[in-house]
Symmetry: C2
Amino acid sequence: MTENNGDREQVARVRAAVADGAQEFLAGLVEWLRIPSISGDPANAKDVRRSAEHLATVLRDTGFPTVEVWETPGLPAVFADWPSDDEGAPTVVVYGHHDVQPVTPLELWEHPPFEPTVVADRLFARGAADDKGQVFFHTLGVTAHLAATGRTSPAVNLKLVVEGEEESGSPHFADLLRRHADRLACDVVVVSDSGMWSRDTPTVCTGMRGMTDGQVDFRGPAGDVHSGSFGGAIRNPLTEIARVLAGMHDADGHVTIDGFYDGVVELSDDERALIAKLPYDEAGWLVNARSSTAYGEKGFTTLERVWARPTAELNGIWGGYTGAGHKTIVPSQAHAKFSFRLVAGQDPLDIQAKFRNWLARAVPDGIEWDVTFYGDGVRPCLTPLDHPALAAVTRAMSAAFETEILYTREGGSGPEADLQDVLDAPVVFLGVSLPDDGWHAPNEKVEIPLLHKGAEAAAHLWADLARSLRQ
Amino acid sequence: MTENNGDREQVARVRAAVADGAQEFLAGLVEWLRIPSISGDPANAKDVRRSAEHLATVLRDTGFPTVEVWETPGLPAVFADWPSDDEGAPTVVVYGHHDVQPVTPLELWEHPPFEPTVVADRLFARGAADDKGQVFFHTLGVTAHLAATGRTSPAVNLKLVVEGEEESGSPHFADLLRRHADRLACDVVVVSDSGMWSRDTPTVCTGMRGMTDGQVDFRGPAGDVHSGSFGGAIRNPLTEIARVLAGMHDADGHVTIDGFYDGVVELSDDERALIAKLPYDEAGWLVNARSSTAYGEKGFTTLERVWARPTAELNGIWGGYTGAGHKTIVPSQAHAKFSFRLVAGQDPLDIQAKFRNWLARAVPDGIEWDVTFYGDGVRPCLTPLDHPALAAVTRAMSAAFETEILYTREGGSGPEADLQDVLDAPVVFLGVSLPDDGWHAPNEKVEIPLLHKGAEAAAHLWADLARSLRQ
C-alpha cells in the first residue's frame, strides 16, 4: 500500500462508516443467527430455506437491486447482484455459505447455540464465524464502501453467491455454478469463509489443499480359516493390507505412489520465507493436534507439510476378529479407508488412477482386491503470491488492520476449486475468523471488532480492485 | 514290525477279539454320544457332568479297578487305572476328552447331532470323532488286548485321563495334572485326539505347534483430529501399526522378530523326506484352505510350513473410522490381534518377551503402545522320530492297518504339551480320525471300521510297550 494522505483519509472514512453501521449490523446478524440452518440434518431443511429467504431480504434492504434464491436438488443458495454504474468496471463474485454445522453435544454449550449472546467483544452462536458472520460483514462492507466514496453503486460489479450445503460437502454446488455460469462470470472470486493466523497477525489465505478419498478391500481365503491349520501357508489379507499400505510411504515420509508428485507446484524460497515469518509455536500447534510429536515428510516444516505438501493418510482400517478375547484365524477380508490431500498441480482423478495402478503392482497373488473412490474428489486451489487480486486483498487488509499482512494456507479442502475452475477466475480469500473461534465445535464465537475489520477490508477492496484490475 | 508267525497270529487274535466286541462297542458309544456334553455352553454343564459319570460307569464295566471323577473349578475329568499284574510293567497314560463342540448352526445337520445315526460304515453325531469315539475305542482295545493275550490284567499299567474342558481351551487341565501328578506318573502318554492322513494312508502324528497370542494397541493423537488440518504432520497410528506389523515378515516370509528362530528344532532331511512321501495334493489342500494360492516362508513346502515352522499371524485389526462413507481423520487409536504358532525349541513366554522387545524398537516416537498377551500360551510338542515309544505306536498301527505307517504333524495347538511337561513323559499320538470327519462342524462323523483299527492298534500297543519300554 502506498501511504499517502488520500489513502489515510479513505481509511478514516471507511472506519467511520463501519462504526456508523455497527449497531444495526450486529442486530441484523443476531437475527439471522437465530435460524438453525443445519444442512446436515434433514429435520432442519425448512430452517435452511428460511435462512436463505432471510438473507435475501437483508441483501435487498442493503441495496442489491437483484436478489434471488437459487434452488438446487438439495438446499437453496442465495444470489445477489449490484452492478456498478461505471463503464467497464471489473466483476467480483463473493462466496460464502449460510448453512451451519450441527450443535451436538448441546450440553457443552455455555449459551444456547441459536440464542446469540454477546459477551464483551465476542458474539457466541453456531455460525457466528462459520460462516454467517463473515457473509454478513459484506453488507456492512458495501454500505461503508458507498458511504466512504460517496458513490451510489459499487465501484465493481458486486455479486454474492451464498450456498446452503457447504457443511454437507457442497454436493450440488459445482452444478449450480455451471448452470448459472453466465450470470456469475467474473474477474475474481472473493471467498469469505476462512480465518487469519491470530488477532495480532492478520493474514490472507492463499490456497487450500485438494482431496480424494476412498476404500481399499482385500480378500484372501473365501472365509475365515484356522490359523493353526493354514497359518503360514496362505496369504493373510491383514498382513498384506498392512504391508501394501505401509508401503505408501518411504522412510523419509515421502509418498511412494508412482507419479504422485508429478506436477506438484513446489514452494518457492519466497513462500517458505513468508511462512517462516509467521510467529509459529510448535508446542501450541501440538496441543491443537492432540499430539506429542510432529512428524512428516523430510525436508519440510510442520506448516509446510500441512499447507503445501500432498499427503496419503489412513482414516480407518478393519478386518478379522476384533471382539473381546481371541480367535486364531486367518481372516478372509481386510479393509481400509484412505484419503489423499492434494496441492496445486495435482488432479484428484489423476491421483485416483495412479493409486489404482500402484495397488495393482503392490498387491500380491493370492489376494483379490478392489479400490473404491468417494466421488471425483476436490481439486486444490492456490493463488500465486504475485497475482494482482492477491495484492489488492493484501492492501485492503493492510488498510483495515494498519499492519503488515502475512500469508497462510489451509490444509483442508473446500468448494473453492469449483469456483476457480467453473468460473475460470482467480480465487482470493478475505476472512477474519480466529483459530479459536470454534468452527464445528461447541461455543462457536466470532470477535465483533474483527467483523468490522472484515467490512473495512471489503470496502477498501472494491475501490482497489476497480483501479488495479483495470491496469 | 518284524514279521513272523507269532506276530501274524497275534494280529489275527486281536482282530477277532475286536470283531467279537464290535456290536457292544457301537451300542455303548451311541449311548454316550446322546449326552450333549458341550463344555462351551454353561447351559450344558450338567450334561458334561453326566457324560463324566456315564464314562466312569462304562470304564468300571470294562474292568478298570479304579475309576474316579476328578473335579476341577470348571467341569470334571474322568480318571481310570488298571494296574498290570506284571512286576515292573511300564505305565501308560491315555489322554482324551469327553466334552464336545457346540452344534450351531443346527439347520446344517442332516441328522440331529445328539441322536447318533449309522449310515453304512459311518456314525454321525457330535463328538463321534472328536473325541468320544477315540476315547471309547480304548475300552474295546484293552478288552481285545486281554482276550488276545489271555491275560487278566493289561501288560502295562494302564491309566486314562479324560478331560471335560478341552473344547473350552483346557483352562484347568494343567492344574489338574499337577494336583494328581503322583497318580499320573508314567513312562509314556498316548493321546487319542488326533487323525490320520487318509483312509489309505494311515499315519501317526508326531507333534503339534505351540501358540501364544494377544493384542497390540497403538495411540497417536489423544483424540481423532482433522486430516486436513493435521494430516502429514503427525504420526498416524493406523499407518504406524501397518508399518510395524508388516515389518514382522521379510520379503521371503521369514519372521523378523529378533531371536524368533533361536532354538527352533529344524526338520532333518529324513523328516522332510517322510513328509514328502505323503500323497499331498496342493489343489485339494487349497480347497480346504479356501484359498487360490499357497504362500509362505521361502525354502519350505506347504506341509512343512504348517507343521514344522513357526509363524506370526494377524487375526484382527481395527482403528479409525470404519462406518459407511468417509470421515477424513487422523485417528487416535489402532489395534491388532496377533498369534504366533510355535515349534519345538520355542517357548511361548520367551517369544512374548522377544515380541515386546522387538515392538519397543519398532514403534516410533509419537506413538504410545502396549501389548497384551492372552495367558502364558501353549507350548509346542514333538516326538523325535527315533523315540522308542513312537516306534512302538508305529508298529501297533502297522499291525492294525497292515501297511506302512507314515508321519504327520498338526499345525494347531492343544493341551498335549501340558501332559509332556507336567508328567515329564514323552507324548505319542494314536488317532484314527479322517480329515473329512467334520471336527467342530455340522455333520461330524466317524468311520466305524477305523475305530476298530484304533482298538486293534491299542491292543497291540500295550503288548508292544510292555516289551519295548523294558528293553
